[in-house]
Structure formats: C-alpha cells, structure tokens
C-alpha cells in the first residue's frame, strides 16, 4: 500500500489521486509547500496604511511590470492586465501562475503554488499575499494575508525565502 503524503490515507500501489483529499500522489509530497523554520524568515509585520493605500484613484492604463529574481538575476516583463499571480506551476492540479518561480529556486525557497498576486489600481501597484505557507515580505516586513499593500519603485519583495525586486514604468 502507498500512503497519501497529505492526509495519510492508504491506497493501492499505482493509484494516482487520493480519494480522500484529492492530492496527486506521485508528487503529492514535494508539491506541498513545506513550512520554513521561523528564524529563517523576517519577523516584523508591515503596516498597510502607512504608505497611502487609500489614495484617490487615477486613470488606469496598462503598465509593464519588471520582476528581477534575486538569485538567478532573471528578469521578467509582465503586462498588468488584471492581476498577476506569483507561485509555482502545478499542471496536475491546474495551477498556472502568471509567473512561475519553480526555475528560480521557488520550491527550495518555500514558495507556495499560489503565493502572491500583484494588481494595479489607479496608477499604483499593490501586492497581496494569497494565503501562502511561508508568507510574503515587503522590504523585510511580513504582509498580512489577503490584504493588498502598495508597491514602490524598486521595492524588495520576498516570497518565503526567495528574493525579488519589482520595477515598473
């Protein structure tokens, strides 16, 4: 028998999906985002109201967002059409983030499959943690999940342990 890494239910060998929790068994383990030890992550929390999240909205236009990966130095240009999801691709579960961080060391860095999203409102950009396992950090401060936080030019963003910087024009 094989055991579901997520819920522990026993299955016959060769089974592909756990009937109990729906996990894809061949990769069910590593696909899960492992929680990182607390001391490896920054401690303080960010205050969403500090940098003017409530400012008046300006006319919206499609802008380009540039994400630069800290470790690999890879740069990605993305048009902000509605929302940009950051995470790790998992085809088996139909999770297709706009920006897949698997190749940039996302798994080792504790990036969740659905980690964070960036959207534009008025002429400002906002980043929001979407319930990730290891948190999203803005300039070293942990964001409260599901609370959009304004982004500034050149802000340092950290998903789990993976560092990125964000630029836009």
């Amino acid at each position: 028998m094989i055991e579901c890494p997520s819920c522990g239910r026993q299955h016959r060998p060769g089974t592909l999906f756990c009937s109990e929790c729906g996990v894809y068994l061949p990769t069910g383990g590593p696909l899960r985002t492992e929680p990182l030890p607390e001391e490896e992550l920054p401690a303080s929390r960010a205050n969403p109201w500090a940098t003017g999240a409530g400012e008046a909205e300006a006319a919206e236009k499609t802008a380009m967002l540039r994400v630069i990966m800290g470790e690999s130095g890879r740069q990605v240009q993305l048009p902000v059409v509605s929302e940009i999801y950051l995470g790790r691709l998992d085809a088996a579960h139909g999770i297709f983030p706009d920006l897949d961080l698997t190749a940039d060391g996302g798994l080792e860095g504790g990036v969740s499959r659905r980690h964070a999203k960036i959207h534009q409102k008025g002429n400002r950009f906002f980043i929001e943690d979407v319930g990730s396992a290891n948190g999203t950090f803005l300039n070293g401060q942990r964001l409260t999940p599901y609370l959009p936080h304004p982004l500034q030019q050149g802000d340092e963003v950290q998903l789990g342990k993976l560092e990125l910087s964000v630029e836009f024009d």
């Binding site: 729906g22 085809a91 499959r113």
Partner: protein, 495 residues
C-alpha cells in the same frame, strides 16, 4: 500527399495501427535505413520514403484525409473503417509485487471516417410537462419555441411527435413522417399549462408514439422536459426506462428550475442510454434542446459496447464515461460495458480503473479490449476493433515513467466528481458531518483548479449543511451538474 503511394506499406504496418505503433515503426525503420549509418542497399531512397510516409501518418489530421481518399479510391478496406480508438495507460511497465495494483486505462473512441451525407433518420418524441408551474418564468413559451425549432429542423424521413402530461397524458402531435410542419407547430402553440406532474403517464404515452414509427435503422429517442417532482410513480418510470433500452429507445431528461427530482431524471437517462441535463433558466431551454437534437442526428453508433476480457489475476474495478459529462458506467454485466451513443464529431472517452494482481516478470498480457456496435454507415455486422494489451513486468521498478498529461488531468477531475458522489451518498444516509467535510475538501480542490464559481457553491452549501442539515435545492443541482461537467472545457481529456 500522394494518394497513389501506400504509406502503410512503407512503414511496414497495418492501416489499423495506432498512433503509438506508427511512431514505433517509424523510429525502428529510420534507425535501420538512416543513410549515415546504414549498409542496406538503397538506404537513402528507403529513408526518404519512410520520412514521407511518417509525415502523413504521424499527423492525425493528414492521416485522416489520406485514409478517406484512399478509401474512396478503393485502396483501403472499408469494413473496419467506421471506428478508431486511442488507448492511454497510466504505466507501461508494472512492478512485480504481491499486492493488487491500480492501472488506469483511458479509451478514446471516435468514428474513423467522416460520415458525409449518410445520417440515420430520427424518430423523436418530445414529452412535455404542462403542469401549472410551467407557466413560471415563461418556461412553457421557451419550450414551445424549442419545439418549433425542432420541427423546422426535421428532414425527410424523420418522425416526430409531441406528448404533454400533467396528471394524465395526451398526444398533441401524433407520430408522423415529414407531415405538415405548420399544422404541427400550431398544435404545439395551443398547449396550455394545468394540473400536477405525473411523469410516468407522459413517458408511457411517449413510448406508444415512438413505437408507431420505431425502426431498427433509426435513432429512436424520447426527450422529457419537466420542472416538477413526480409522486409515487418513480419505480414505474425506472422500469419503463429499462424497457426502453431493450427496445432501442433512449430517453434524455431535462429538468427545468429547481424543484425536479435530479436522482430520478438521472436514473431514467442512464438506464435508457440517454443523457440528463439541468436547465437553470428558461432562456437556456432552446439552446440545450437544439444541441441535443443535433447531437442525436449525428449518431454514428447507437449503443457502443466495450468488451473487456481479462487474463488471470486482473479485473475491472470502476469505469467512467467522460463525455458528454462524467458518468459512472454500469459494470454489473462485468465484461461488457454499454457506452451509449457515439456522435460523429465527438469522441467518446471512457476511463477504466483496473486492478492487476501479482504478475511474473516478463511481457504479460493483461486484457483484451473489443469495441463495436451497429454504425450508421456500416453493414449489418457493424464494426469491431480488437486489441490485446501487453505490459512489461519487472522485479525492481527503478524509474517511474511519466503519466500522460491527459490522463492525469482527467483523473484529477474524476477525483472531484467522486468526492461529490461521496458527499451526496453520505447525505442520503443522514451523515451530515461527512457530507460537510467532503464538500469542504471539494471546494479546496476546485479552488486549486481555478473553478471559482463551483468552489464557492460547494463552500456555501457546506456551511448551509452544517447550520441547517440540508442543501438548498439550487445548490444541490448546481454542484452536482457542475462537477460532472468539469471535463467539458478540458481539451486535454477530450482533445
């Protein structure tokens, strides 16, 4: 593409070869005759021919065009031309282990050749609920408009009838062959809602009308439209559905609004070999009905059978039809599965969950598959495809090969479908806690797949269930019919 050339011979394969076999043959031959490596005489010439053949046969669409033309030219045998299939397995190599292991097999069956002008005549009966509730939200108006549309679309040789029912049933348009369309439409227009709902009356009268024009070489089908519960005659309805299948009549059941009995309609459809559908708003009646009638008129095989002959120590565990929506296939007749109608332009996918017992090392035969049924263009004999499935069995399986993506995608959706089944089964026996938990897990899985609306419905209903002990009638249907339709937008599973 040169239709005078025999590409199959160039690759030394039969014209019934699967895509996989073609690829394998091409690789082997290309290695043997590669001009850089081969000492064979005329290697370059042979290599060119092999290349040319694979360019056509390796491409599904080009191969289809080539086959059609060759068939027209009489260069390809036609007797096994009506069906084609593709088999996908979760693993090609099995580990030799004592305990039973699971093997998934997806079978995609499609008509091999374009059907062209040939089309089975229709023998249709529309059975319409005309209880007072049908007045609601212009339901009856929409049904009438849909019936008019069907009448307009009828062709020479088609038979059509309309039966209405409330607590009794009456024949509004008797079964006739290409009769007076204008008169038939006028009669439909005159239908007025009244009384309660007794489905059995309607079905029985519908069967009588169909039997007046029933032919072997025709699509004999009843379409039931209702918006209400029926009381006390459920068992009679199910018995009639079984009877209908024996007589070659399928019943498609459409439920409008929220108050109808989804279990009964699903059972009627499944037992008779038809389909069931949920129509949430009256505005969708016309489109769904028209699509159904179009599908019927494209029937290629009326009742496709899949026969499984297992070798020792392997057996069938479960079987699901994936199109037009996810549906459990009755496995009580053990090796012979009834798959219902195969439409001309829509492949039929079946997913089999097979249990394989302990196998000795080496190349082992696990099962033989056979599919067939009377086709609209085939002769009396119909058409069969047979294939033996072999697997490599090894003592120590070190590297696991990748599971084909379309199979993974289909199984993932099937897992959600099964959770829904489990939740509703738990609900039936009053286990609210379990049902709640299943709905929650479903919601999470749906969310992970980006099925936001359905996930939301599941989460909402889980909350309602915990508070009140029951689902809302709308939520119940939304989740059930949404889940089984997960496969529809998926190009991976159905291509």
């Amino acid at each position: 593409m040169d239709f005078d050339k025999d590409y199959y011979r160039a690759l030394e394969i039969s014209h019934t070869a699967t895509a996989e076999e073609i690829k394998r043959a091409y690789r082997a031959l290309a290695r043997r005759f590669h001009p850089d490596a081969s000492d064979e005489p005329n290697a370059a010439e042979r290599f060119r021919k092999i290349q040319a053949a694979y360019e056509i046969l390796g491409d599904q669409r080009q191969r289809g065009a080539y086959d059609r033309k060759r068939r027209e030219m009489g260069l390809l045998p036609t007797e096994d031309a009506a069906l084609a299939w593709e088999l996908t397995v979760s693993r090609q190599t099995l580990p030799c282990i004592k305990e039973e292991q699971v093997l998934y097999l997806m079978v995609d069956i499609r008509p091999a050749a374009a059907m062209g002008a040939s089309r089975l005549p229709l023998n249709l009966c529309l059975v319409v609920d005309r209880s007072t509730s049908m007045q609601h939200g212009r339901r009856m108006d929409q049904v009438k408009a849909a019936a008019h549309q069907i009448i307009d679309d009828l062709r020479e040789g088609d038979a059509f009838s309309v039966v209405t029912f409330h607590d009794t049933a009456e024949v509004v348009v008797p079964a006739h062959l290409g009769g007076d369309k204008i008169q038939a439409k006028a009669k439909v227009s005159a239908i007025r809602p009244r009384g309660g709902t007794e489905i059995y009356q309607g079905l029985m009268t519908g069967m009588q009308e169909l039997n007046r024009r029933r032919r072997l070489k025709a699509v004999n089908h009843m379409i039931l439209l209702t918006d209400g519960q029926t009381y006390g005659d459920e068992q009679d309805c199910i018995a009639l559905a079984d009877d209908a299948r024996r007589q070659g009549v399928g019943i498609s059941a459409f439920g409008i609004g929220e108050d109808w009995n989804d279990k009964l309609l699903d059972t009627i459809a499944t037992r008779s070999g038809g389909v069931s559908a949920y129509i949430d708003t009256a505005a969708r009646v016309r489109r769904l009905l028209r699509r159904r009638v179009r599908g019927l008129s494209k029937t290629h095989v009326q009742d496709l059978k899949l026969t499984l002959r297992f070798h020792e120590s392997a057996r069938l565990d479960e079987a699901f039809k994936l199109s037009p929506y996810i549906q459990r296939v009755d496995t009580s007749a053990s090796d012979r599965l009834s798959l219902g109608a195969l439409e001309a332009d829509r492949p039929l996918s079946v997913l089999l969950q097979i249990l394989v017992g302990s196998q000795p090392p080496g190349r082992q035969r696990i099962l033989q598959l056979e599919t067939g049924g009377d086709t609209s263009i085939g002769g009396e004999q119909g058409q069969r495809l047979v294939q033996e499935l072999w697997f490599h069995c090894v003592e120590n399986l070190t590297s696991e090969s990748e599971v084909p993506a379309n199979l993974v995608s289909a199984l993932g959706k099937l897992a959600i479908f099964k959770m829904q089944e489990n939740a509703y089964d738990a609900l039936d026996i009053g286990d609210t806690n379990k049902a709640c938990q299943k709905l929650e897990v479903m919601a999470t899985n749906l969310l992970a797949r980006g099925e936001l609306e359905l996930a939301n419905a599941a989460r909402l209903e889980a909350g309602r269930l915990a508070r009140t002990g029951s689902l809302s009638p709308t939520g119940r249907k939304k989740i059930k019919y949404g889940t089984r339709s997960l496969m529809i937008n998926d190009t991976g599973g159905l291509r």
